[in-house]
């Protein structure tokens, strides 16, 4: 685990597979913070606790996101504060435009056309900012229709948290998958964190459920409750109490450090973090109902 994260160089472009408060790669985020990585470029469709923490801990120099939210628990305070103070390069995109950029990367295309972003201030800001080189108006060679061309997004390392994988990295993702597949397959390196490791025979029973085939995966990390305090459909619900506690800290620049010291820098690894976050008894209460999935 820590060895895997150690292979991520400072300044790397990492992509995270979480969405708001669902399937965040908390295991990875915590370890990146413990190892005090610097100058990271982070891309993600809709940022959640994962990226908010990385920004709060000061690891990020540039953000490429379509949005950010902790759902009803509040906004991504650290990210928004960083924008307000201009402490990092910020690229504001949309869910579909980032998905298309990852898709282009996954397909080995250097660009892809799109019909959104057009006539918006999002585009104006991209054209004035660090994203200027990644958007360009173009015409369809056949119809002449005007599109916005987007450059492909190919992260150095993509991290995704899944419910089920085998030792070879064949991954199942249950519930909606937002841009997980395109993001994972666009990346130069792919690292998976799985709640459950199953034998390959189990994967072979329903190969149509394999969203990411093993030959694309560099490493599989087995970490139950690896996305806590965010939710993993079919495994456990989000930890409302812990999310409230997090927002209490993230709200103020001077308090986020407290959270990071207590729960991340103050713990050696994810199991220790889980202990500090309430331990087995507390986690047991979050376990998903097998029928409901939450």
């Amino acid at each position: 685990m820590s060895e895997v994260v150690a292979t991520v160089p400072n300044g790397a472009h990492i992509a995270l597979g979480g969405f708001a408060i669902a399937r965040n790669v908390i295991t990875i985020v915590h370890e990146l913070i413990r190892q005090q990585k610097r100058e990271l470029v982070v891309s993600q469709g809709v940022a959640g606790l994962d990226t908010d923490l990385l920004v709060g801990a000061g690891l990020v120099s540039r953000l490429i996101i379509g949005g950010g939210s902790l759902d009803r628990f509040g906004p991504v305070h650290c990210i928004n504060r960083a924008r307000e103070t201009g402490s990092l390069l910020f690229e504001d995109w949309t869910s579909l435009s980032l998905c298309f950029r990852y898709l282009a990367g996954a397909l080995g295309l250097s660009f892809i056309p799109i019909k959104s972003l057009i006539a918006s201030e999002i585009l104006e800001r991209l054209e004035r900012g660090p994203g200027a080189g990644d958007v360009k108006p173009m015409q369809c060679p056949f119809t002449g229709e005007t599109y916005l061309a987007l450059s492909a997004l190919t992260p150095d390392v993509s991290f995704v948290h899944v419910q089920t994988a085998d030792a070879d990295g064949n991954c199942r993702i249950d519930g909606p998958r937002w841009e997980n597949e395109e993001q994972a397959k666009a990346a130069k390196r792919l690292i998976v964190v799985a709640e459950t490791i199953v034998p390959t025979e189990e994967i072979q029973r329903t190969p149509e459920r394999t969203i990411i085939p093993g030959h694309r995966v560099e490493a599989v990390i087995h970490q139950p409750f690896g996305a806590h305090p965010t939710a993993v459909f079919g495994c456990y619900d989000y930890d409302a109490a812990h999310l409230k506690l997090y927002v209490e800290h993230s709200k103020r620049a001077e308090r986020i450090g407290e959270y990071i010291d207590t729960y991340i820098r103050g713990t050696k690894n994810h199991p220790e973090y889980l202990e500090r976050a309430g331990g087995l008894a507390h986690l047991a209460a979050l376990k998903a109902d097998p029928v409901l999935g939450y």
Partner: protein, 255 residues
């Protein structure tokens, strides 16, 4: 039956805008509640889609947001952005995009990115799928609280385009039909076919015109005759209060 809440009038008005058989991309909160209400009443064949990759969900518990597993319970399809936003929305088959907003201006431009309260810049969630939906859906319905500062002449940040600068959508290079309705706790607004500027469609019962005009930041076109917004029926109220949002997670306050 207890007094009808503004939120209940809003979601009923939203539901009445949706036709049976339509495909609708819904945002979290009142849009989703309105969609479920329509589906439970006159539009059983409606297909609600969530940008994250969900079709036709039938939640039994009220979710706290788009990433809450509760919202995609009993869906008939789980996919991702590429299917819902790409192969449905960008494909051009989404009839209605149903959104919330921080600010909406006279041309239906939407801001979900930032606010400038007392000169201080504050950032919010940004677009996520909002800009994509506003750009590509055949028509867009916004549901929000009716406040002067939330309905300015021009949004402080144009996150999602309406009839930008009062121009026609084709002129802007956009495929989607653009803004169709703004539904607030006071009224329902639409857009003028000619100048694309906001016009009053109906007033909610008990709300007078002066109140609306005083609380609207942009010049609102008012027709000679302004009908009343139909109240939710008893059955609609029963569904909202006992089945769709029994804990009043969304109907409690104005989203």
């Amino acid at each position: 039956m207890s007094e009808i809440r503004a939120t209940e009038i809003m979601v009923a008005a939203g539901a009445h805008e949706l036709k049976d058989g339509e495909t609708v991309v819904v945002g979290i909160g009142l849009p989703q509640i309105a969609c479920f209400l329509a589906k439970a009443t006159h539009a059983p064949g409606l297909t609600p889609l969530l940008e994250i990759g969900v079709a036709n969900m039938r939640p039994k518990d009220t979710p706290v947001g788009l990433a809450d597993s509760r919202i995609f319970y009993r869906a008939t399809c789980w996919s991702g952005f590429l299917d819902v936003m790409g192969m449905n929305l960008h494909r051009g088959i989404v009839d209605t995009g149903f959104l919330g907003a921080l600010e909406v201006d006279r041309f239906g431009n939407i801001n979900t990115t930032l606010s400038r309260e007392g000169g201080r810049l504050r950032y919010f969630n940004g677009s996520a799928g909002g800009n994509d939906v506003a750009s590509l859906a055949k028509r867009v319905i916004v549901i929000m609280r009716h406040e002067k500062r939330k309905l300015p002449v021009a949004v402080s940040h144009l996150t999602s385009p309406g009839f930008v600068g009062g121009r026609a959508r084709a002129e802007l290079g956009l495929r989607g039909g653009g803004p169709h309705r703004i539904i607030t706790d006071k009224a329902v607004m639409g857009f003028d076919k000619e100048n694309h500027s906001a016009t009053l469609v109906s007033l909610h019962p008990g709300v007078d015109l002066e109140d609306v005009l005083a609380n609207t930041g942009f010049p609102l076109q008012v027709p000679d005759v302004v009908p009343l917004t139909p109240l939710p029926t008893a059955e609609e109220l029963r569904l909202l209060r006992h089945e769709i949002d029994p804990k009043s997670v969304y109907l409690g306050g104005v989203g």
